[in-house]
């Protein structure tokens, strides 16, 4: 059902955890549906210096969270904003069709985290 890459990221998730002094936090999903993700970012000189995730959900939810943190790390804010659901799924060698909508939320979480960062910065 899952690609080897999904299983690999599920088994060994990258960048798992929380950033205590994050510059932006994005939360997406709904535990009722079985997926809840929190993405934390640390920004320096317009670049995503560090990114971590916490996820409650299925293997697809965990793997997409892990993948989006890998894709985002080191990218500029502008580039990171462009990472979409399809990019995440493609990098994972695809997702089961049924999981494309419900569990592939990680890129939305990243966007929320960036928006949170931008709105906080705007207030400073």
């Amino acid at each position: 059902m899952y690609s080897d890459k999904v299983i690999e990221h599920f088994r060994n998730p990258r960048n798992m955890g929380k950033i205590e002094d994050a510059d932006g936090v994005g939360e997406v999903g709904n535990p009722v549906c079985g997926d809840l993700m929190k993405i934390y970012i640390k920004v320096k000189d317009g670049k995503i210096e560090d990114v971590k995730f916490e996820t409650f959900g299925c293997a697809a939810a965990i793997a997409t969270s892990s993948m989006v943190t890998e894709l985002a790390k080191g990218k500029s804010i502008e580039e990171a904003m462009k990472i979409g659901r399809d990019d995440v799924a493609r990098e994972l060698d695809g997702l089961p069709p049924i999981k494309m909508h419900c569990s592939n939320l990680a890129s939305d979480g990243l966007k929320e985290a960036i928006k949170d960062y931008l709105s906080k910065r705007g207030r400073e």
Partner: protein, 382 residues
């Protein structure tokens, strides 16, 4: 280590069952309807199996028909009554296997009325509720004997008594209970009862339906008149032989097997419940001796099943994320769990071949898996 703890899903075919089946593929391959010796040896084998099935559940052999499995038995029984009566009211529960539930839902679309009785937090149907649901036009009560997910054993003896007093046909899906706990159709007072072979170390694709003498149902499949015209089709002789042998073995081994399984199951439950925020689903005592069903806070079931699978352990979950329809288990909803709670469910069902060493291995491996999943879960308290 590979540990199979999904015996409620299916069981391996017992070597002795396979051995008895094999000649019926290549040597004794006759059509049981044929008059020649090839046909007769197949016919004899079928009738011997019929006796063995009847023996296990305390029925007469002429009260057993062979089917293609539990789902088909349920369909023949439920639709058989419904079609014979033409209209009316059916009483069932909210925790039935899809073989019963979807059949009742279909009959609802065809104009029958169906009452889906609620259950308590342990998954128990109340006989009083059954009695109160009875109407003048009630034609059938169908309540499962033991639940396939949480293992709760229903009070079918009391329900059977109520059905009898009200002269309503009573059917039970006993796919999970037969071979695990004593089932005697005469003592319970059943009218119809469904059995499946592959849950009791027999082959897949074969089952049986007990129909009490005098219970009249209409055929839902039409053809050459096999199995009293209720399940026409050239008999699956090897499968039927396998079911017969599986029943014979179950009868011989049940008491000892179940005592052993229950001891291991209780050890598993006791250890797992020591894990923080872990809960047992289903009835604490009135449950199948091989069933353990847990719920863990802040963990999603599919992730849990795949993590256990990585360690060689096979279990199952009622989480929506693992279902084809992305809907949480209707059984877990019926016992009052919410969607989030249902996500964290794990069913482990033991079988004959499980050893103490295997259970100890599960007890050792499960806590760090939960720890890892909880460490990455935003729902887990810090």
């Amino acid at each position: 280590m590979r540990v199979y703890l999904d015996h409620a899903a299916t069981t391996p075919v017992d070597e002795k069952v396979l051995e008895e089946m094999l000649p019926y593929f290549t040597k004794k391959y006759g059509n049981a309807s044929s008059l020649h010796s090839f046909g007769r040896e197949a016919r004899d084998a079928i009738e011997r199996s019929r006796e063995r099935v009847a023996e296990l559940i305390g029925a007469e052999s002429e009260e057993i028909i062979f089917t293609a499995g539990g789902t088909e038995s349920d369909n023949i029984a439920i639709k058989g009554i419904a079609f014979r009566k033409g209209k009316g009211h059916i009483i069932t529960s909210q925790i039935e296997h899809p073989a019963v539930m979807a059949t009742c839902q279909h009959l609802e679309k065809k104009g029958f009325d169906v009452t889906y009785l609620p259950v308590d937090k342990y998954g128990m149907v109340s006989p009083e509720d059954v009695e109160n649901a009875i109407r003048d036009d009630t034609i059938l009560i169908t309540i499962m004997h033991a639940n396939n997910e949480i293992g709760t054993v229903e009070p079918i003896e009391e329900i059977a008594k109520i059905a009898r007093e009200n002269e309503i046909v009573f059917h039970t899906d006993a796919v999970q209970s037969v071979g695990k706990i004593p089932v005697n159709v005469k003592r319970i007072g059943m009218d119809m009862l469904s059995i499946s072979a592959h849950k009791i170390y027999g082959p897949k694709g074969v089952g049986a339906l007990y129909i009490k003498k005098g219970t009249k149902i209409e055929a839902i499949i039409h053809g050459g008149g096999h199995e009293k015209g209720l399940r026409p089709s050239t008999e699956n002789v090897p499968g039927i032989v396998g079911l017969g042998k599986a029943c014979e073995l179950a009868e011989k081994r049940m008491e000892e097997d179940m005592k052993r399984m229950q001891r291991l199951r209780d050890k598993l439950i006791k250890s797992v419940l020591e894990i923080e925020e872990s809960y047992l689903n289903g009835h604490p005592e009135k449950r199948l001796p091989n069933n353990a069903h847990f719920r863990f806070a802040a963990v999603e079931g599919e992730s849990l099943i795949l993590s256990l699978d990585d360690k060689g352990i096979a279990g199952s979950t009622g989480s929506a994320c693992s279902s084809k329809k992305l809907k949480p288990s209707h059984v877990l909803m019926a016992i009052g769990l919410n969607e989030v709670q249902a996500h964290g469910s794990l069913r482990l069902t033991l079988g004959r071949e499980n050893t103490e060493e295997e259970i100890d291995y599960v007890i050792e491996v499960l806590p760090p898996i939960l720890e890892k999943l909880r460490a990455m879960s935003p729902l887990w308290k810090r």
